[in-house]
């Protein structure tokens, strides 16, 4: 018997030695509304372990966004399975998926996507409120994350008064706030200058180590790839290479 954080239920499953956070099997996503069917994701098998810092790369249109959306449970595959701690999320109902995302995934978006009417701290606290956490716990974690992200002095401001880099750091804090199992980030640095990109990556990397949370991000940016410890390359919806890079974050920062 094991408690599943995914569905919030007890279920019978045997613990394997190495626990994959995510296991993708024969995943496809085909768009048929187009003139010619588009195989955006075309038979992908992948495993992600706890604490990974992984980049998904490839040319525009290769299927990065589609893959991340499927893994995040905000899109439905045409076929295949996505097992998150042995639970196949492709079988969950829309409403179950919402709760699945709330308790398991942090999202970071290319265009930051903070809630404009909420202050920085309210944005970070938003998901914890949805999780009905204690007020004190929420306050403490907001404080901790915003300090870690180096924007503790901006807590009462609305997002529009922050620079892009600062907004994205708030978004990272928001993604981490719910203590998710993994964080999905679709081109998180695409809208940032190189200095902000650097700052953000270093912060992400250090939180990846501190919180042991899995980071999976897509990118076009060489500097981002340089920080990744695993690089998965897609082309036409297929994995064409999957390499682990042997360096620590400390090395990469130099």
């Amino acid at each position: 018997m094991q408690f599943s954080g995914v569905t919030g239920e007890w279920n019978n499953s045997f613990k394997t030695n190495v626990m994959s956070v995510i296991e993708i099997q024969q995943l496809t996503k085909t768009y048929r509304e187009t003139l010619v069917p588009v195989h955006a994701v075309n038979g992908i098998d992948l495993k992600f372990e706890k604490g990974e810092f992984t980049a998904i790369v490839g040319p525009s249109g290769c299927g990065k966004t589609t893959l991340l959306n499927l893994m995040g449970g905000i899109d439905r595959p045409t076929s295949g399975q996505i097992l998150v701690e042995k639970v196949d999320i492709t079988q969950l109902t829309a409403s179950q998926l919402v709760d699945f995302r709330l308790y398991n995934i942090g999202f970071i978006f290319q265009s930051f996507n903070l809630i404009p009417v909420l202050t920085v701290e309210e944005n970070v606290g938003f998901v914890m409120e949805l999780q009905h956490r204690q007020r004190e716990e929420i306050t403490a974690r907001i404080q901790y994350l915003l300090t870690a992200m180096g924007i503790a002095e901006k807590t009462k401001l609305r997002p529009k008064y922050l620079s892009g880099g600062q907004q994205q750091r708030v978004a990272v804090a928001r993604a981490l706030a719910a203590k998710p199992k993994f964080i999905l980030a679709d081109e998180p640095t695409a809208n940032l200058d190189s200095k902000s990109t650097n700052t953000l990556l270093n912060l992400m990397a250090s939180l990846n180590e501190k919180e042991q949370v899995t980071f999976i991000f897509s990118t076009h940016d060489q500097r981002v790839m340089d920080k990744a410890r695993r690089i998965i390359t897609l082309e036409d919806g297929k994995v064409i290479s999957d390499t682990s890079v042997k360096h620590s974050h400390a090395e990469a920062q130099n």
């Binding site: 809630i115 938003f126 928001r174």
Partner: protein, 407 residues
């Protein structure tokens, strides 16, 4: 919930100008709708009050069958039990007994069919100030053996003067012949020629004697303290009376007034309908825009773990907030105005005012401050605002997240 209210409230003020314009449209519609209703309802109750005063009263007790066949044979006996029943009904402010029938009035070569009304001079005067209408001669006192009152129109037609004698001929109770002559003790003038030409008043005992119907009445007209409770009073009165007597309500007896009011009311309702459409489109447009332009934001919230039902709640809250603010602001503005007009009614002018005055009525246009008006207009506007969010709500519950995030 608190989170939802905060989001809804702050979202409203994101586009301050648009929200204010929408609020203003709700506000204007509420103000106009309440004003229209208040004027209409005030006018109607005034019209009804005046009309029943000069005709039937709010309620009338009659013998069963009299309304269908207005024959003196369908009269009833005014006994003490009737009196007690009427006394016992707290809503009745005035009971006016009458014996009415028809007769031929002749003088010399001229003859004319007239309506004879036997009245209790005191009660009748309380009802419609008949005494004031007597332009020449004198009004009745209580008791029999008096003369009669005729209108100036009839007096002219029959070439009669005060003190002349008028011969009445007709059919009395159960087919007896009714014939008598009376001196003209007063000549009255009503603003309506029809009345001046055809009405003849007798004191009630004299009329009863003329028609050979001692102690009998054709109707007792009732005025009420609270006209709104007419229905209930009629029912309780009917229960207290035996089945030979019926209680009629003014709408049954005065169909033309009912129709007049219905016609006017329909016009008002059309006006209200137009106002409601303005509200519906204003709120619909704003909420739809507020939804569409936040599509990506909503997609993000759903992605990070918010159920769509909560977004639905946010949009409904936004609508309710706009609606309530507009309604409350509208009521707050219009209430003191209406209360003032209630205390100081608008004065009528011109010929209408003259007619009012000749009837002995104040030439005013009262307003109604019935709380029901505010309540129903508020509820209606709120309901319309909510209905106009159906499409945005439907949309929120089905748009696709990946596409929305791409924008």
């Amino acid at each position: 919930m608190q989170q939802l209210i905060i989001l809804a409230w702050r979202n409203l003020w994101r586009n301050r100008r648009r929200t204010l314009i929408t609020l203003a449209s709700v506000f204007m519609a509420v103000v106009l709708a309440i004003a229209i209703r208040s004027l209409q309802k005030g006018a109607y109750s005034n019209m009804i009050g005046n009309a029943v005063r000069f005709s039937t009263g709010y309620l009338q007790v009659q013998a069963k069958g009299y309304w269908e066949d207005k024959s003196i044979n369908n009269s009833f006996t005014a006994d003490t039990s009737l009196d007690q029943t009427l006394q016992a009904e707290p809503n009745i402010s005035l009971a006016v007994p009458r014996l009415e029938s028809f007769a031929l009035a002749s003088s010399g070569l001229h003859t004319k069919g007239v309506a004879i009304i036997g009245i209790d001079p005191v009660q009748e005067n309380q009802l419609n100030s008949l005494e004031e209408k007597v332009a020449k001669g004198k009004y009745f006192h209580r008791g029999g053996g008096q003369g009669l009152l005729i209108g100036d129109g009839l007096a002219n037609y029959l070439r009669l003067q005060l003190g002349d004698t008028l011969v009445l001929m007709g059919q009395g109770y159960h087919g007896s012949t009714a014939a008598a002559q009376y001196p003209i003790q007063g000549i009255f003038h009503f603003p309506l020629d029809q009345l001046n030409n055809s009405l003849v008043y007798l004191a009630l005992p004299d009329a009863q004697a003329f028609f050979a119907a001692p102690g009998r009445l054709t109707s007792v007209s009732l005025m009420l303290d609270d006209p709104a409770a007419m229905e209930a009073t009629a029912r309780s009165l009917q229960r207290a009376l035996d089945s030979t007597r019926v209680v009629l309500q003014w709408p049954v007896m005065n169909k033309s007034l009912v129709q007049e009011i219905q016609g006017d009311n329909a016009g008002g309702i059309i006006m209200l309908g137009i106002l409601y459409l303005v509200v519906a489109f204003g709120v619909f447009g704003t909420i739809l825009m507020m939804t569409m332009e936040r599509k990506k934001e909503f997609a993000v919230m759903i992605a990070i773990g918010m159920h769509r039902i909560k977004l639905t709640a946010i949009v409904m809250l936004e609508t309710v907030l706009i609606g309530l603010m507009g309604i409350v602001a509208g009521c707050v503005l219009i209430l003191p105005v209406l209360l003032y007009l209630y205390q100081h009614p608008l004065a009528l002018t011109g010929s209408t005012a003259q007619i009012y005055q000749e009837f002995g009525l104040e030439p005013i246009m009262p307003v109604s401050v019935d709380p029901a008006i505010f309540f129903y207009q508020g509820i209606t506007v709120l309901a319309i605002a909510l209905v106009s969010t159906l499409y945005p709500l439907w949309y929120i519950n089905r748009f696709r997240i990946p596409e929305a995030l791409k924008q």
